[in-house]
Amino acid sequence: MPPQLSRLMIAFGLLVVLFIVVRWVAQPDSFYQYGHYRGKALSELASAPVKFIPRATCAECHEDQAKQNAAGPHVHISCQSCHGPGSDHVDNPTAENIILPVVGQTCVRCHAQNAARPASFPQIDVKDHAGKKQCTDCHVTHNPQEFREEDKKADHAE
C-alpha cells in the first residue's frame, strides 16, 4: 500500500475515534432511553412543584366558607379559581399570599352580559341589575343564590 494512502487511512481512523469520543462525552446518559430525547427530562418535568393545591385542602381551615359554597350553585368551582394559587398560603397562611378578589370585578367576569356566552348561562346587565350597589351587598359571597337577611325584602336595584 502506498504510504500516502496508509497515512490518510490512519488520519481518517483517528477522526472516527474522535467523533465517537465527542459523541460519547456530549450525549447525556439517558438519551435514547425512550426515544430521540433525554429520558431524564420526563422525571424532571414531572417533579416540578404544584401551585394550585387540591380543592379539599382549603376546607380544612375555611370550614364556614366551604359549607356556604357547597350549598350553592358555585359548588363545582375551585376556591383557587377566584382566590389564586394556594400553595404558598398553605405553607404559611397570611392574607398577603392569597388573592382576596375585588368583589365588583370578580362576579361580572363571568356574569356580565356578553353575546358570546351560552344563552343558558345566567348573565346580567350590570347597570340595570345592581345600580350602584355591590354584588355582595345583597348576595351571600360564597353562595350567591342566597340573599343577605336585611336585603331579602328590599328592592333589588336602587
Binding site: S30, V50, S81, A115, R117
Partner: protein, 277 residues
Amino acid sequence: MPNNDHQDLILPEGCDTCAAKTGSGKTRRDFLKLLGQATVVLTAARFGASAAGATETPPAEAHVAEQWDLHKWGMAVDVEKCIGCGRCVVACKAENSVPKEPTYFRTWVERYREYEDDVVVDSPNGGYDGFPADDGGRTPDRAFFVPKLCNHCDKAPCVQVCPVGATFKTPDGAVLVDASYCIGCRYCIQACPYGARYLNPVTQTADKCTLCYHRIHKGLKPACVENCPTGARIFGDLKDPNDPLRKYLHDHKVFVLKQQLNTYPKVFYYGIDKEVR
C-alpha cells in the same frame, strides 16, 4: 523504485501553497497530534465526570426508569360551555410561571363573532382580563369562545423539526420541551400550525403547554381544567375505557383543529364552526 516515487512526492520546505500546510503555518502533523490529544483529554474528562457523579449523587436520587406509557393523555373542549371568563389563562400563567406580558401564552381564549357578512375573531390579551361585551351596536348571528392550547399532536411537526431532540413526544402522549437541552433556535415555533409555542424571554428556550405534566403525574388535573368554573375542559386518559373523557368523546361529535394537516391532535373540540382555525 516505490521509495523514489515517494521521495518525489515530498514537497519542499517553505512552500506556501502546498496542501501539507495550513494557513496558520501549522503542519498536518501538528493538527493530527492535536486530534490525538483532544481524544485523550475528552476521554479523561468523561471518566472524571462519571467518577465525580458517582460519588456526589447517592444511588437513591439516581434516575429510575419509570413506566411512562401507562396512560395516553388527551383533552376535550366543550365550546358550548365556555363563558370566556379567562380563568384558565390566569391559572395557567400562575401555575407554569408564564410571563405576564401579552403574547406569551400556553393557553388562551379566542372569541368568534359571526355576522351576516363577516366573522370577527378577537382575543384581547389572550382572554387574561376577560372579554368586553361591546359588539359595536351589531348583534352577531352566532358568537362563542374557543379556548386554545397545544394540541399535543400524535404526529407533531415541532418534534420533527427540532435539531437537537429537545422537543419530544412522551410515551404517554404529551409533547414536551426539555428546556435544559433546547438551543432556542425557534424552528419549532415556526413549525407549529396552531401557534401554540413561544420563546420564553427569561430562559430563551421554546416553551408551551405541557398538559401540566407535573400535576397529572401527581394525580391532579391540569391547572386550566381545575380552575374552569363551567367544566368546559375535560381532561382524561384515552387509554382507560372507563375514563370520563372517553365517554365524552363517545357521546359527542367532536372535531380537531386543522385536520387536513394530519397532525392527529389529542385536543378535541365540541361545538365549533367551520370558521375556527
